[in-house]
Amino acid sequence: MFANPFGLSGRRRALKALAVQPILAAVLALSGQSATAQQTIQIAYIDPLSGGGASIGEHGLKHFRYIADQLNAQGGALGRKFEVVPYDGKTNPQESIVQAQKAIDRGIRILTQGNGSSVAAALSDFVAKHNARNPGKEVIYLNYAAVDPSLTNEKCNWSHFRWDADSDTKMAALTNFIKDRQAVKRVYLINQDYSFGQSVRTQAVAMLQQKRPDIQIVGNELHPLLKINDFAPYIAKIRASGADSVITGNWGQDFALLLKAAADAGLKVDWYTYYAGGAGGPTAIKQTGLSDRVFAIVEGHANIAHPPAQAVETDFRPRTGQAVWYPRAFNQMYMLSEAIKAAGDVDAKKIAQRLEGMRITTHNGGIGYMRADNHQFIQDMYIASFGPLPAGAKFDEEGTGWGWKTLGRVEGKDTELPTTCKMSRPY
């Protein structure tokens, strides 16, 4: 009785083996399928897809999906298609690291993230440690929007590359612009209470002091990041301070709601911003009725007359229902694709090596290059103003009838700042 531990006669075992065969075949077919899925070049998009940052996180995702489609239509790279895999980082450093680990466990070797310098610092650190501990499984981190200067200075590492100009560069351009505007006398600073917001306010104070010592800083506010529902108390305070201009690095809902509250209170001041064009921003500006009094420092906008960019804008809008807001995402993905082609392999170290020093014509037609010493992308920057569309401009924002126009341009090479970055490279 114990001779046959399976309790099956030889014939029944054979039958069972036959029955197993189709399942085996199905499993094989499945694994074959996943093998083709493996052949896409996957990029993990780790950004807020819920919570206060969701609106801009979704907007960014649309960009990356659109660009991947574009690159795939041109044949992808190395005969493989690009695929963007979204992960919800919830604008939270811990959560984003968990998501990054999930992506890495799935075999993804290219990460991209942008919203929140606190998240970026954690991710950059995480990726650096991962790479040190897992030779042969290195990961590259492409940062398209987190602008804390430390990421390309003391906290730099070989696996981090940034496509947005850093916060100091942007503030330098904004304050240069303010320098010549004699009407600016009393400035109020309001920023989000985390690394980026703090860096904006420190730099604003320092640079204004240097360029326009006559300007009085009448308020210097920090508020919780993406947690405020109603900015009315802050607007009341700005109003009471008698400010004629506000400088803010606020993004996402923190910008849209700030302007919404300003519209409700009828606050009439000039706004010098980093991210006025983000989702919800233009609608809120239109509500305030402040025509050509909201300025933003950007690497491009919809009405820059560069034909390829205009063609993309025309195609992008009906497909996504939104405007192009991250020209740098185009620069980033284009360069990634070129680097992969040149390296002949999707290997983080080889990609990093090719990205260093790479020169391209940017999405908006200027010259752009990736600095080799600190992995900061250098590109032309624009001071743009929001108001009724000027003659010849084609694109408004969020159906407001108002759009962006260029007031000033800073050459890429003039935005290069010295760096303290000392990078060790495994390649």
Binding site: S50, S55, P224, N229, P233, K237, R239, D264, G266
Partner: protein, 316 residues
Amino acid sequence: MLELVVFSTLNGVLYGMLLFMLASGLTLIFSMMGVLNFAHASFYMLGAYFGFELARQFDFWVGLVAAPLIVGTAGALIERFGLRVVHRHGHVAELLFTFGLAFVIEELVQMVWGKLPVDYRVPQQLDFVAFNLFGTTYPAYKVFMLVIAIGMFLCLMLVLTRTRIGLIIQAALTHPQMTAMLGHNVPGVFMLVFGGGSALAALAGAIAGPALVTQPSMAALLGPILFVVVVLGGLGSLAGAFVASLLIGLVQTFAVAVNLSLADLPGMAQLSPAAGTLIGDLWRVTVAQVAPVIPYLLLVLVLILRPTGLMGNRET
């Protein structure tokens, strides 16, 4: 300065009244059933979303009336077929039930309406400037919110003090066992209070939705502060909840306006540690920066110094 005080008061009272619409239901449920209803803010969120959906399909005013009714009914059903069943297993089970319910509601909302904020707009009839003071405008919709909140407060007071059901609720608040012994249908009252509390929360959501942001995280943003209000006001005390709501509303709004830090106190200039050090930086943190923490600080202090809360007479 005066304009800052006036507008901070207006904003603070408005926020306080909004908190009270939620806290009144929560404190009633808390003191009657002994359940800290973690899902209370979720009913507020449901109110905002139902209001939005009905405004989209029909009209803002339809949403304003129907959303609280729908959510109130849902709340009563949840009490009858959920909470009452769980009640047999004690308070911990009830607590966990409402805790889970909050997550379920949030996920459902995300599944139906997505993770992005929805475009819940102020109705056109109310989209104008109510008055202009010191050159600052005040939107009519905020006045409307204030009127609704005060109206609701008066109705609630009348119901609780002038009607038979109100008297039974009051009795059940302080002496639940005795009320049941006297033959009143206490489970029925529980269901009514739970449903009513949910409806009030939903009404708050329906009017707050267009002014604030209607998004899946709105419940989580408001939830913790409600517990502060309930504990601060005192368990089962509606008057306490009212005072605490206004207090929190005003404290939070005024704290934002205050730029003082420890270093600014008179005579502190010499004592101040150097900037850049940890203590030096803490020394220079302004009241405005810690504004979001102040309510929780109050919560801790009240629990230590006066566990019954400002106006409560039962230990929390």
